[in-house]
Amino acid sequence: MPNNAARSTGISRRSLIAGALGLTAATAGGGLLSGCSGSSNASGAGGGGAAPAPPSVTLGPKLEGVLYPDGYIGPVARELKPITSEKVTFKIVVKQDVTIGDWKTNAFTKWLEQKTNIHIEWNQVGGTDDDVMTKVNAMIAAGDIPDAFMGIEFTRSQLYLYGQQGLFTDVNQFIDGYALNLQQAMKDYPDARKLVQAPDKKIYSFPSINDCYHCRASNGRTFLNTDWIKQVGLDVPKTTDEFREVLRAFKKADLGGNGRTIPFCGYKDAPFDTYFMNSFLYNPGDPWLVVNDGKVDVNFNKDEWREGLKYIHGLYAEGLINKDVFTADQDQMDRYGNAPGKPIIGGARSYYWGGFLDIDQKDPEARWRKYLAVPPVKGPNNVQYAAWNYLGVGVEVAKLVITKKCAKPELLVQWADAQMELEAILRGYGGPKFAWAKKGELGINGKQAVYGFSATWNTEKNISWSQDNAMYRSQDFRLAERVNPKDLTFESPLYQQTVDNYFPYKQPQEMQFPPVTLDQDQAAQEAELKTNLTSEVNLSFSKFVTGQLDPNDDAAWNDYKDRVEKIGVKPYLELEQAAYETYNA
């Protein structure tokens, strides 16, 4: 159906703008929003305006027998108390996901309902994330609104937009009275409030904390085969020149055999610039925004960027990088990485090992263990950054969005808060097969573990909500997972190598451009500028690297600078500067 296809792409591409348009329709058709969902027995008063009841909620007693390492900051296991005496039903829209199974019969759904006495009527939306947003926008525009959306990835700007329209409920008013776990989490993570609140100081979604340590360095993580480095008699490279020497040696020694050796690999899903450019200037990657002394700037039109281009182009021209670095997909990478017999790739730019080969956790000699996440290398001007994501990882918005349809938002807030309790977290994302750690069992960070899972992922279905709900997973919590000596997960080496090889090279936090919230007009403008800039920068990057454009040629470089200038670097930076100042205000 060509019509449908056109519609779907048109909308998913610009879901934000479509959402905005749809909203106008929703307001016009306001008559359709008839009362509340009828599930809870309130008098139909809109939840958003209701004054919060005086705080009456207390947390249950701590569970006995759970061990915590010294100085542990994070969720605590407590007895969950029923939120209401009578069963209350809410209608919540979620994503359908075969890894979750059936929301209705899911083990965690049943457990949580039995504990909290809150029943959920699930509405599932299918397809890809873009599809989901299309459907959700259509629902909102048509006034067919549930009590809440869970795990639907609204952007900060969308939350603000719908929040200002009165469609989404400000949960800030309920946090003090009803969300004790969240309060604690926000005390533990003082930046959290700033990151979740909209410019009008309201909080339009129940936030989640997922402080994934290794994720903070994901963008720059790069792997080299340490076996090979030994075989060619070199060390892990420390400078850009040494890095090149290592790749040259790989090529010369042809350790893959039959000339099949690919010294270094990249693919289209992992941006290539975020490792190499950081030897020339701080580069957080797309959309390449940096902050210099409070001024927002882009880095892709600087002379240092050009030096970086020359370097990467040099590697490519010498045949040290796979020819299809900008077009290879995950399947192709797997073919390189999993090549039968001897490995044929010397290294890869990837977020984790799974990006370029299959991870076998059982085998201590598995191939993935030979690849080490190597530190950033020092450039000719002694620049050496690991782009560290202080702000984009850790605090998540939009995990639970309560709408104005919900007559008793305080109950849903308590329900979400209950999911921030330790046992609920474990059951929520890992299923019921967890156990409290015994004394002496060690976690990922080598301290006393708190919990462990007996089964690995994927062996059982219909047991968890994957990661679609709000949770409080602090760094200490994540690292307190027991490491099973028989089933060595990649989480442990990933953590250790991030500690050793990326954390020491992080840029100062002030340099990172934070996740900002834009208002409706800004968002529409920004979406267009950003799309055009991103495609131009990416396209030119690949052309410079592959030699279609010569980075040594002044004319080509100046042409490129002109092109991005024309697309609108200036208005783009003005927008971002304004948003940045609002964020800091």
Binding site: M1, N3, N4, A5, R7, S8, I11, G22, A25, G29, L32, V93, Q96, D97, V98, G101, D102, N123, Q124, V125, G126, G127, T128, D129, D131, T134, K135, A138, A141, A142, D144, E153, N210, C212, H214, C215, S218, D269, A270, D331, D334, R335, N338, A339, P340, Y351, Y352, G354, D358, N389, V393, W457, N458, K461, N462, Q467, T489, F490, E491, L494
Partner: protein, 312 residues
């Protein structure tokens, strides 16, 4: 060739026909045609064979690139794994349901709309036809359509998959043209002379003469339903009603690997494993029903579509 026996010997020889020698040019042309067609055939065949082979090969061998034509490490694990996912199994059943019921409903509507429009005497024919064609170029848009479906109470029911956009105007035009070409006005008159009513004529004469176009319609609609996902996406919020394509999209097309969006490598690894395991078997499953139906409809297909396209 009984007629040939009565002919004089000379002509008999001609009628049986000495093999006519192809000229040099003909031979070259023929060779080129066969080569070109052979390549086309390979280009179409290869992906199918590859997918079939990959679906019954060891997942590890596939991702290591060892499979390129025939299966390596034969196993049907991937097909067994499908049955672990209730969502896939039930969505397959739903898709079959939507394809069959949707095709029948749509074909009935198409025939009922196309036949009157093919007759000369219908008053206001031009206006009705213009109204039909108008909808090919302009549509109400997503939100108004959604509101209509909602108000009709179709939202989140199986009917939402079948009734909205059931009728394809393009098919109506083809079918109308078919009727105009194959059911001459004289036949109607002859029927009337014999006392046949309009409905009687449609039922007794038109339908039996229209098997090819009915087959074409059924096939078009069924394949359209089988491949469609957008209506399901927009109108359904009960996963037990989802068709296969929606589930396939989630598993196969969901490729977002932005690390800031997905801060858990475990989840990433899990999704990757799932994709690797199920990718090819799912494609095969999605491919089978249309493949099964095509051979049976094919003979009608060429005929029906050709005649229908005359004045289309």
């Amino acid at each position: 060739m009984s007629a040939a026996g009565t002919l004089p010997p000379d002509e008999k020889r001609l009628a049986v026909g000495a093999p006519i020698q192809d000229t040099r040019g003909d031979k070259i042309a023929l060779a080129c045609i066969y080569t070109a067609l052979g390549f086309f055939c390979l280009a179409v065949l290869y992906p199918i064979i590859y997918v079939l082979s990959a679906s019954v090969s060891n997942t590890k061998k596939v991702s290591a690139g060892e499979v390129w034509l025939w299966p390596v490490g034969f196993t049907v694990d991937a097909y067994k794994a499908i049955f672990d996912y209730d969502a896939i199994v039930s969505s397959f059943g739903n898709s079959v349901y939507y394809a069959v019921v949707g095709a029948v409903v749509a074909t009935v509507l198409t025939l009922l709309a196309a036949y009157p429009l093919s007759r000369k005497g219908l008053p206001g024919k031009g206006i009705i036809m213009a109204a039909f064609v108008f909808t090919m170029m302009f549509s109400g848009g997503l939100i108004p359509t959604y509101l209509v479906v909602d108000q009709l109470g179709l939202l989140n029911t199986r009917w939402a998959m079948i009734l909205p956009t059931a009728l394809a105007v393009w098919n109506v035009i083809i079918t109308r043209t078919y009727f105009m070409v194959t059911i001459p006005e004289e036949l109607v008159e002859a029927g009337k002379v014999d006392g046949c009513s309009d409905f009687g004529f449609f039922w007794r004469i038109v339908l039996p003469l229209s098997k090819p176009i009915i087959a074409v319609n059924l096939l078009f609609y069924a394949v359209g339903q089988w491949n469609s996902f957008f209506n399901a996406l927009i109108y359904l919020t009960n996963e037990h009603l989802f068709p296969l394509q929606v589930v396939l999209r989630q598993i196969l097309i969901q490729t977002k690997v932005d690390p800031s969006q997905m801060p858990d490598t475990s989840k990433l690894a899990q999704l990757k494993e799932l994709q690797q395991q199920l990718k090819y078997s799912l494609i095969v499953i999605g491919m089978i029903p249309p493949l099964l139906v095509y051979p049976f409809v094919q003979k009608h297909f060429v005929k029906g579509a050709m005649i229908g396209s005359l004045k289309g």
